[in-house]
């Protein structure tokens, strides 16, 4: 372990973990209300980013009908995503009620393929570097750090936090906080929690369960778009953005599948694990950053399969 690098990587991991946590929250939300593992979430996120880019006039062909400032573009993209969320729930997932897990997982995988093709068809295949980001990739805050062992190499006297990454982290944390408050204190949020506990009981209390399902997909559309925009400010828009959801799944399992705080902690853990290995002295370990989340996942599956905050399920015949 290259200890001199650890503080910087800790911060990097935290920043990355924030984004992962926001993505994980969106997936957990849908799972809690309707017991659907949304493998299409990464693609919803990518679609949200592409929509924002398009509404902001990123296509720059000269005759695009709409060219909004970033803020309004995000709002427009969120509206479209919410609509899309409703549609997915109504057309694709409601007919699947009562089907086994595999069928539902495959349904979301099928949806993800449709999204991928549609994005190619609508926006073209080349990645777009001109996402209207308010920050430059080189802008960074620095936190001075006293030199280690009396010596300091160029950048090691400070911790760097890119503006983009910090903004991403802050937005993710704020969004997560709003999420929790929403579920704790609003009537709809409580209704959603009730639905996730027991569909029939919720229905008997006058909660319209199908409406709750639709609502949870709509909210997932919002968080997906938000996550997509955050990632796009970091790296531009491309079809490959969808891959980030695959890293969010280990985060969800680590946290415990049904718990919002779990999703956040899991996201941060996975983010940290991915970045910390980069401080290793052995090059093979450094190059394992891609699979670090899955190694962590396997360890958890063997030691504590229900996750940190998960409940052990009791099954009956």
């Amino acid at each position: 372990m290259n200890w001199i690098l650890v503080p910087q990587q800790l911060v990097n991991g935290l920043m990355y973990g924030g984004t992962l946590a926001l993505i994980a929250l969106g997936i957990v939300l849908i799972y809690k209300s309707s017991e659907v593992f949304n493998f299409a979430y990464g693609h919803m996120l990518m679609l949200g980013a592409f929509l924002t880019w398009w509404f902001a006039g990123g296509a720059r062909t000269g005759n695009e009908p709409i060219s909004l400032p970033l803020g309004w573009a995000i709002v427009a993209a969120v509206l479209v995503s919410v609509l899309l969320g409703f549609l997915i729930e109504r057309l694709a997932l409601r007919p699947m009620a009562g089907q086994p897990l595999l069928a539902i997982v495959l349904m979301t995988l099928g949806l993800s393929q449709i999204f991928e093709g549609s994005v190619n068809l609508l926006f073209g295949v080349t990645p777009k570097g001109n996402f209207p980001s308010p920050f430059s990739p080189s802008d960074a805050y620095t936190i001075p750090v006293p030199p280690v062992d009396g010596e300091s190499i160029v950048f090691l006297d400070r911790i760097q936090i890119g503006h983009t990454r910090l903004a991403t982290f802050v937005v993710a944390v704020v969004a997560a906080a709003i999420f929790m408050l929403f579920f704790q204190y609003t009537k709809i949020g409580l209704a959603m929690r009730a639905t996730s506990e027991n569909h029939e009981l919720a229905r008997s209390l006058g909660i319209k369960v199908p409406r709750i399902f639709a609502l949870s997909w709509a909210i997932a559309g919002i968080t997906a778009t938000l996550g997509g925009v955050l990632l796009a400010t970091l790296s531009g828009v491309s079809v490959n953005l969808a891959a980030v959801a695959l890293v969010a799944f280990p985060a969800i399992l680590l946290g415990g599948l049904e718990s919002f705080p779990g999703a956040i902690i899991g996201g941060l853990l996975v983010g940290l694990a991915t970045e910390i290995v980069k401080a290793a002295t052995v090059v093979e370990v450094r190059n394992s950053a891609d699979i670090a989340p899955y190694v962590l996942l396997l360890i958890f599956l063997l030691l504590r399969p229900e996750g940190i905050f998960g409940r052990h399920r009791i099954e009956r015949i």
Binding site: Q8, T126, G236, L241, E275
Partner: protein, 478 residues
Amino acid sequence: MRKSTIVLLLTLLTVFILTACTTPVENVVQTAEAVVTEQAPAIQEAATQVAEVVPTAAAAATTVAETVTEPTEEPEVLPPGCNEDLTGKTIKLHQQAGKEGPLAAILGQAFDFATKDALAAINSNGGICGATLEVVFTETNYAAELEIAAYEATRNEALIIFTYGSAATIVLANRLNEDKILSFAAGVNGPAMYIPRDGYTIGAVPIYSDQFAGFVEWLSENWADVKPAGAGDQIVVGVIGWANAFGAGATTPEAVAYAESLGVTVLPMEEQALSPDADVSGQIQNMVIQGANVIYNQNLSFSVAQVIGTVRALGVWDSVIVGGVNWSFNQDVLNFLGDNARLANGYYGVVPHATWQDSDLEIVQEAAAAFEAGGYPAAEKTNTYLLTYASFFAVRDILVHAINMVGYDNLSGETLLAAAIDMGVIDARGAYQYDLQDQYRAPRHARIRQWQVQADGTLVDVAVSDYFELPDTRPPAP
């Protein structure tokens, strides 16, 4: 029932024997050892046959020259440079690449635009001795499985196949050699092209290990002039590359050995995830901590932009030299940096071909005009477009030379390769040169270019060296 099962079993055996065990009578040999001993003469014979082709080819070339100088002897008007008029005929070439899938999203479609424009230019200027040049495209996603499928579907009629990914070069190399089909590859993988030496894959750019060794050589010769402030005399190169065959292409054992023979240290390669949201700060920091004062990029597109952005953000841009393979020195990197393109100021690239800045070259002017006329998005005005555009003129020259050597009816991958070897150096109208001398299969010369901010604030690639011969880091022949 019992009978029928036995019938089934016997039929199966027959099918197996029929399909699997068939060979020409000549291959029947008394013992296994005989095969081993019989091989050697056969190979020698083949070698002499090849050797014989070359002088006759040269003879053919001289006769061509004669006919051209004395047009009065020929009552029929022949296309310039040809001794056969092929008007009305079609020469079909094949192209396999991806317009969809994750890699296509990165590599873009400039090759497609350039192909169409180059074909239009060639065909409106007389084609190949009057014949129309045609290119058939097959979609492969850059997936190896589909590259093979596309190849299998076209191999019976293909003369020349253009491929655009390292995976395609790797999976097709052996097949191309056996079927004797010429291939022009943009993904230049050393082992695939040079093992065995007489292969049929021709690279559009120097193999990546040559480029890397060339960059190191140039650095060690000019270190005093280019070294960053505060750097010592010891050159330490850190390489960051994609985690695949392309990324591993630079730091081959031969290239590393060459660098070490110059007294340059090469650190083990740091892998970069092939993803737009990869974070490379860990890799860069590790390289710098290990004393790297040169960072070499074996990647392209957004990955280069990530490295540039991260090196800038870490504040070490001025204490290291950042450069990379020719594909990393391309317009799409600047597209990714967008409004921050100036961050790339000072980035070096090994560039084996002309760029859009060489506007005194006729081919560059012509390509620029074609690009304007095509109305393509400005982002696609990359070196890839120019390179692809020029390559078709080199292919035209090879075809014409082969037609003059052996005639239109005898065109095959074998005769085309013989013609190309006979030509030795094939000049793509000054844009770059294919080099097939000394069993080479790829260009061997490159310039070092650098992105420099001009007075008006634009970023322009400037040649900081002349064309120089790259070191030979081909993998050893088996």
